[in-house]
C-alpha cells in the first residue's frame, strides 16, 4: 500500500510540475513572441544602428532641455491624474460595488464607456466642453495642464473603480462591523480597518492607471495642445515623423524605467499589506443604498456625493457627443444614425459602419478569449507562494513583466510588429497582413488588465484552504476547481468585460495593422472625423454612440456571466 501511494505521489508531483510548467510557458511564449520580440527588435535598432553598439544617443537625448521637460511633464501628469482617480474612484467603488440600488448595473457599465471611446472623438467632445466658448470654458482649462489631467481622469476612472470594486465586493465586512460595534466612528473604522485591507487592490488599480496616464498619447496630443508633450508623444514623433530610432530607443528606455519604478512602488505597497483576507464569506457584503430614513449612513452620503460628481463629469463630454450626433443640417433628427447603414457621403467609407461594428465584435471576441486564457494563467501562477526562494522571486518577476505591455508605446509595438512578424520564429508566414495579428495585438494590452483584476482575488484566498483540501486528499486539479475557481470566477466577469472593452476601443496598435477592406469601428470613426462637413462629423459621432452602447452592453452582459458558485447562494 505504502509503495503504491508513493508511486502515485511521485507521478502526481511530475504531472503537477508539468502542469505548472505549461501554465508558465504559455503566457511567456505568447508575450515573448508578440511583445518582447517586436519591442526589443525596434529598440535594438536604435542602439545597434550598424551592427555596432552605439549609446551616444543617451548623451545626445539627455542634453536636450526638451527631454527633461517632457519627462517631468509625463511624471507630473500621470501622478496628479492617478491621485485624482484614486480619490474619486474609491468612493465610486464603494457605491457601485458595495451598495445595491436601482440602475446600478447600468451605471457600472456606463463608467467604462469613456475608457473605450476613440481619443480623437473624446478629444473633440472634451475640447468643445473646455474651449473658451464651451459650457466649462470659464475654467480656462483648454490646452492647459488641468485640461490634460481632467481628460486622463475621464479615461481611467473606470479602471480604478472596477479593480477596487471587484475586490471590495468580496471583502468580508465583519471586521469593519466589529470595529463599529466596538464604538469606532465610521471614518475611523474605514481608515483603520477597511482601507488597509483595500491597499492591495488600490495599489493594483493605481499602478494600471499610472501606466495608462504615463503612456497616454491621443488625449495628450488633443487636449494638451502641442505644449504638453509626454515621453509617449515624443516617441511617436521621433519614430513616425523623424525616424530617429536612436532617440526613440533612448526614450523607450526612459519609459521603461519610469514604469518599472511605478510597478515596484505598487508591488511594495501590495506585498507589505498583503495578507490573507477572509473572502467568500457567508455574510451578505452588499447592502441597499439608503440615503434617507433609518439605517442611512453619513459615509454613504459622502460617497454618493463624490460619485455623483464624478459621474456628472464623465457624462458631460458623452452627452455632448450624443447631442451632437442628433444634430443635422436640417435640425434635430436621426439622419446620422440612418447614415450608419451606408458608406457615408460621397464614398467616405469602404464599408458601412454596421459592417465595421461586426468586424470589431469578432476581433474583440478573439482578443478576449486570448487575454483571459493568458491572463488567467499568469494570475494563477503568480497567486502562488512557492516555498523555495528563487521560485518565489521568479513569480515576482513574472508578475511585474506581464504589466509591461501597458507601459510601452503603441507605436513601438506597432512598428516592432512590422519588423518582426514577416517571418515569426523563422516560419514562412507573413503575419503582418494576417487578420490574426489584430486580436493578438489587442490581447497583449488586455492581458495585464485581466491579471490585475483576477490576481488580488486569487491572492487573497486563504492558503490554509489549499492545504486543508490537499490534506483531505483532494488532487491539485480538484483543489483548483473547488477552491480557486469559485472565488476567481467572481472576478472573471469583470476581467472579461474589461478585456472586451479594451479590444473594442483599441486604436494605437490596430491602426498600424488595419486592413482597409475590413476596418474596425474605431478606425472608421477616426476616418470619418478626419473629413470636413457636417455629414461626416455627424456620422462619426453617431458611430461613437454606437461604440459606446456596444461597450456598455458587453460590460453589462459580462457582469451577469459570473458562473454560479457554491458559496454564493
Amino acid at each position: 500500500m505504502d509503495g503504491h501511494g508513493a508511486r502515485l505521489n511521485r507521478r502526481g508531483a511530475v504531472g503537477r510540475g508539468a502542469a505548472w510548467g505549461l501554465a508558465v510557458a504559455v503566457p511567456l511564449a505568447f508575450l515573448g513572441l508578440f511583445f518582447a520580440l517586436p519591442v526589443g527588435t525596434l529598440v535594438a535598432r536604435g542602439f545597434w544602428p550598424d551592427g555596432a553598439l552605439d549609446l551616444s544617443g543617451f548623451v545626445e537625448v539627455f542634453s536636450r532641455p526638451r527631454t527633461w521637460r517632457v519627462i517631468g511633464l509625463t511624471l507630473a501628469q500621470a501622478t496628479v491624474a492617478t491621485a485624482v482617480v484614486v480619490l474619486l474612484g474609491v468612493p465610486g467603488a464603494h457605491v457601485l460595488y458595495r451598495r445595491t440600488f436601482r440602475g446600478r448595473g447600468a451605471l457600472r457599465a456606463f463608467v467604462v464607456v469613456p475608457f473605450v471611446l476613440p481619443t480623437v472623438v473624446v478629444g473633440v467632445a472634451f475640447r468643445s466642453v473646455l474651449a473658451p466658448h464651451g459650457p466649462l470654458g470659464f475654467l480656462g482649462w483648454d490646452g492647459t495642464f488641468a485640461g490634460v489631467v481632467a481628460a486622463l481622469v475621464f479615461f481611467n476612472y473606470a479602471v480604478l473603480v472596477r479593480t477596487v470594486g471587484g475586490y471590495w465586493a468580496t471583502l468580508d465586512p465583519r471586521a469593519e462591523q466589529a470595529a463599529r460595534a466596538l464604538g469606532a466612528s465610521p471614518l475611523r473604522a474605514f481608515v483603520q480597518v477597511t482601507l488597509p485591507a483595500l491597499v492591495p487592490a488600490i495599489a493594483s488599480g493605481a499602478a494600471i492607471v499610472f501606466l495608462f496616464c504615463a503612456t497616454a498619447f491621443g488625449v495628450v496630443l488633443v487636449l494638451g495642445g502641442p505644449r504638453y508633450g509626454t515621453v509617449e508623444t515624443e516617441i511617436w514623433v521621433q519614430t513616425t515623423q523623424f525616424l530617429d530610432l536612436r532617440a526613440a530607443a533612448v526614450l523607450s528606455v526612459v519609459q521603461l524605467v519610469v514604469i518599472a519604478a511605478a510597478l515596484a512602488v505598487a508591488g511594495r505597497a501590495r506585498s507589505r499589506r498583503e495578507r490573507t483576507l477572509a473572502q467568500g464569506s457567508t455574510t451578505a457584503v452588499e447592502r441597499p443604498l439608503r440615503l434617507r430614513g433609518p439605517g442611512r449612513s453619513a459615509a454613504d452620503g459622502a460617497a454618493v456625493a463624490v460619485t455623483a460628481l464624478a459621474l456628472a463629469f464623465l457624462a458631460l463630454p458623452l452627452v455632448t457627443v450624443a447631442l451632437r450626433s442628433l444634430r443635422t443640417p436640417r435640425g434635430w433628427g436621426l439622419d446620422n444614425y440612418v447614415a450608419l447603414g451606408t458608406t457615408g457621403g460621397p464614398n467616405a467609407l469602404s464599408v458601412t459602419v454596421w459592417d465595421a461594428a461586426v468586424t470589431s465584435l469578432r476581433i474583440a471576441l478573439d482578443a478576449t478569449v486570448l487575454a483571459v486564457v493568458v491572463g488567467g494563467l499568469v494570475a494563477l501562477v503568480v497567486s502562488r507562494r512557492p516555498r523555495s526562494r528563487p521560485l518565489r522571486r521568479a513569480v515576482g518577476v513574472l508578475d511585474a513583466v506581464v504589466m509591461l505591455p501597458l507601459g510601452v508605446s503603441a507605436v513601438t509595438v506597432g512598428f516592432g510588429f512590422l519588423l518582426t512578424m514577416d517571418r515569426p520564429l523563422g516560419l514562412d508566414l507573413d503575419l503582418r497582413s494576417s487578420p490574426v495579428l489584430i486580436p493578438i495585438a489587442q490581447a497583449v494590452v488586455a492581458t495585464p488588465l485581466v491579471v490585475r483584476t483576477v490576481l488580488p482575488v486569487l491572492r487573497a484566498i486563504d492558503s490554509r484552504l489549499h492545504e486543508a483540501a490537499a490534506v483531505l486528499g483532494a488532487p491539485p486539479g480538484r483543489v483548483l476547481r473547488l477552491v480557486d475557481w469559485p472565488i476567481a470566477a467572481r472576478s472573471a466577469g469583470l476581467a472579461l468585460g474589461l478585456a472586451f472593452a479594451v479590444s473594442l476601443g483599441e486604436f494605437g496598435a490596430t491602426a498600424f495593422l488595419a486592413r482597409p477592406e475590413r476596418p474596425t469601428l474605431p478606425v472608421v470613426i477616426f476616418r470619418l472625423i478626419g473629413r470636413p462637413g457636417a455629414e461626416n462629423l455627424g456620422m462619426a459621432l453617431a458611430a461613437s454612440v454606437v461604440l459606446a452602447l456596444m461597450t456598455a452592453t458587453a460590460i453589462a452582459l459580462a457582469e451577469r456571466l459570473r458562473p454560479g458558485v457554491a458559496g454564493d447562494v
Binding site: 480623437v120 478629444g123 473633440v124 468643445s128 474651449a131 473658451p132 466658448h133 496630443l221 494638451g224 495642445g225 502641442p226 505644449r227 508623444t233 514623433v237 519614430t239 513616425t240 515623423q241 523623424f242 525616424l243 457567508t282 455574510t283 451578505a284 443640417p329 457621403g345 460621397p346 464614398n347 468586424t359 465584435l361 476581433i363 471576441l365 478573439d366 478569449v369 512598428f415 512590422l418 519588423l419 514577416d422 508566414l429 507573413d430 503582418r432 497582413s433 494576417s434 487578420p435 490574426v436 489584430i438 498600424f512 488595419a514 482597409p516 477592406e517 476616418r527 478626419g530 473629413r531 470636413p532 462637413g533 457636417a534 462629423l537 452582459l557 456571466l561 458562473p563 454560479g564 447562494v569
Partner: protein, 371 residues
C-alpha cells in the same frame, strides 16, 4: 449558518442559475460559431498565392485611401489580379515604415507618399524606378527625380479656410494673403495645426517658408504668435472645435484645412459656399505612387501604377480621397468646379530641399511658436 436569509433580494436560486446557464451557453455558442475573426476563412489574403502567376498584388497605402468598388472590380477583372490593400498609417509614418521594412517589403506597390517625404523614400532606396506609359504631361511635370522612382497620382492643396459668414456678420474684410494674418485686425482669429504631429500642419509651415523665404519665415511666425495664432494637435481638432465654420462651433473664423473642404460645407441646393479657401495661402502636396524594391510581384505593381493614372481612377479620386487628380484634363465633380477650384498658383518647395531641412525647420518652428 444564516446564509441565504440575509440576502436582501431573495430570488429563487435555480432561476438565477438557469439564467446564468443560458447566458453562458449563449456566449459560448457565439464564440464557437462564425463570430471569430481568427476562425473566419479569409479568401482574399492567401499569401501562398503571391508567387503563382501574379495572382495577388499588394498595395501599401495611407489610411485615407479609398476608391469606388466597381473601379477596383474592373481592374481585377481586366488584369486577373487580386488587389489587396494595407494601410499601416498616415503619410509620414507610411514612408518610415517602408524604410524599416526594406528587407521584407510590406507589399508590391505604394501609393500615398507625399511631397514632404518623397525624397527620403527615394534616398533610402525603398523604390524601383518605373516610367508609366500612362503618364501624361501633368504627371511628368510633377516628377521628383529623373529616374521616375515616383509617379504623381493626385494633388491635394493645403490652404487656410475662412468662414465667410463670420466675416460678413462682423463687417471685417476677408483676409487674402499670409501677410494679412499678422495684422491686428485679425488678432486671435487663426487656428493651425502642429507641423510635428500633423501633415497639413507641416504643409502650412512649408507654405510660409516658400512664401517668405529662409530669412523671413521665423519672424513671420513670431508675428503670428504675437497676433494670437492657436496651434491645435490635429486637423479634426482644429476644424471641428476651434473653427467657426457651419459644421463646427468654434470661435476662430480662419482654420487650416484643404482646398477641397468648402464643397462639404455647402447646404443642399445652395449656390454659395459658406466657407472658402484662401487661394494665396495654399501649399501644393503631391501624392505619389511607386514600385517597392524587392516586390514579390513587380509586374503587378507596374500595372497598378498604370491603372492609378487611368481616366477612370483619376476621375474617381476627388470624391473618394478629397484630393485633385494629377491629370488636369480629367473633369472634376460639379460641386468642386463651383466651390473648390484648384489654386492656380500654389506655393511649392522642392522635395529635395524639404527632405534636407524638414527636421531642423520643425525644431525651429517649435522653438519660435511654442517654447
Amino acid at each position: 449558518m444564516t446564509t441565504s436569509t440575509h440576502r436582501r433580494r431573495p430570488r429563487p436560486g435555480h432561476a438565477r442559475t438557469s439564467a446564468r446557464l443560458t447566458a453562458l451557453t449563449a456566449a459560448s455558442a457565439l464564440a464557437l460559431t462564425a463570430c471569430s475573426a481568427i476562425g473566419e476563412g479569409d479568401g482574399g489574403t492567401d499569401q501562398a498565392d503571391d508567387g503563382e502567376g501574379g495572382g495577388t498584388v499588394v498595395l501599401v497605402t495611407h489610411d485615407s485611401f479609398a476608391l469606388s468598388e466597381d473601379v477596383i472590380a474592373a481592374f481585377e477583372e481586366r488584369t486577373g489580379l487580386t488587389l489587396e490593400t494595407r494601410a499601416p498609417g498616415d503619410g509620414g509614418a507610411l514612408v518610415n515604415q517602408l524604410i524599416l521594412t526594406k528587407d521584407a517589403p510590406l507589399g508590391d506597390v505604394v501609393y500615398g507618399i507625399d511631397t514632404t517625404f518623397a525624397s527620403r523614400a527615394i534616398n533610402e532606396g525603398v523604390l524601383e524606378p518605373y516610367t508609366s506609359p500612362e503618364a501624361g504631361e501633368d504627371v511628368q511635370e510633377l516628377a521628383v527625380d529623373d529616374e521616375d522612382h515616383l509617379t504623381a497620382i493626385d494633388v491635394g492643396d493645403v490652404c487656410l479656410n475662412i468662414d465667410r459668414e463670420w466675416f460678413a456678420e462682423q463687417g471685417v474684410p476677408e483676409p487674402t494673403s499670409l501677410q494679412d494674418l499678422t495684422d491686428p485686425a485679425y488678432r486671435d482669429l487663426l487656428v493651425v495645426t502642429n507641423p510635428a504631429t500633423s501633415s497639413p500642419g507641416l504643409a502650412f509651415l512649408l507654405a510660409t517658408i516658400a512664401e517668405l523665404g529662409e530669412d523671413g519665415w521665423v519672424d513671420y511666425w513670431a508675428a503670428l504668435r504675437e497676433n494670437g495664432v492657436k496651434v491645435a494637435g490635429g486637423w479634426s481638432d482644429a476644424y471641428y472645435v476651434d473653427f467657426s465654420g457651419p459644421s463646427s462651433e468654434g470661435d476662430r473664423p480662419i482654420a487650416l484645412s484643404y482646398a477641397s473642404s468648402p464643397p462639404y460645407e455647402v447646404p443642399e441646393g445652395a449656390d454659395e459656399a459658406p466657407t472658402a479657401a484662401m487661394l494665396d495661402t495654399c501649399f501644393r502636396q503631391v501624392e505619389y505612387a511607386g514600385v517597392l524594391a524587392g516586390a514579390a510581384n513587380p509586374e503587378g505593381a507596374r500595372q497598378v501604377i498604370d491603372w492609378l493614372l487611368s481616366p477612370e481612377v483619376q476621375a474617381d479620386i476627388p470624391e473618394n480621397m478629397y484630393v485633385y487628380p494629377a491629370d488636369s484634363t480629367v473633369e472634376l465633380p460639379e460641386s468642386w468646379e463651383l466651390f473648390a477650384p484648384l489654386p492656380p498658383e500654389p506655393l511649392t518647395l522642392d522635395p529635395g530641399v524639404i527632405a534636407e531641412n524638414r527636421d531642423a525647420w520643425i525644431d525651429t518652428w517649435t522653438a519660435t511658436v511654442l517654447d
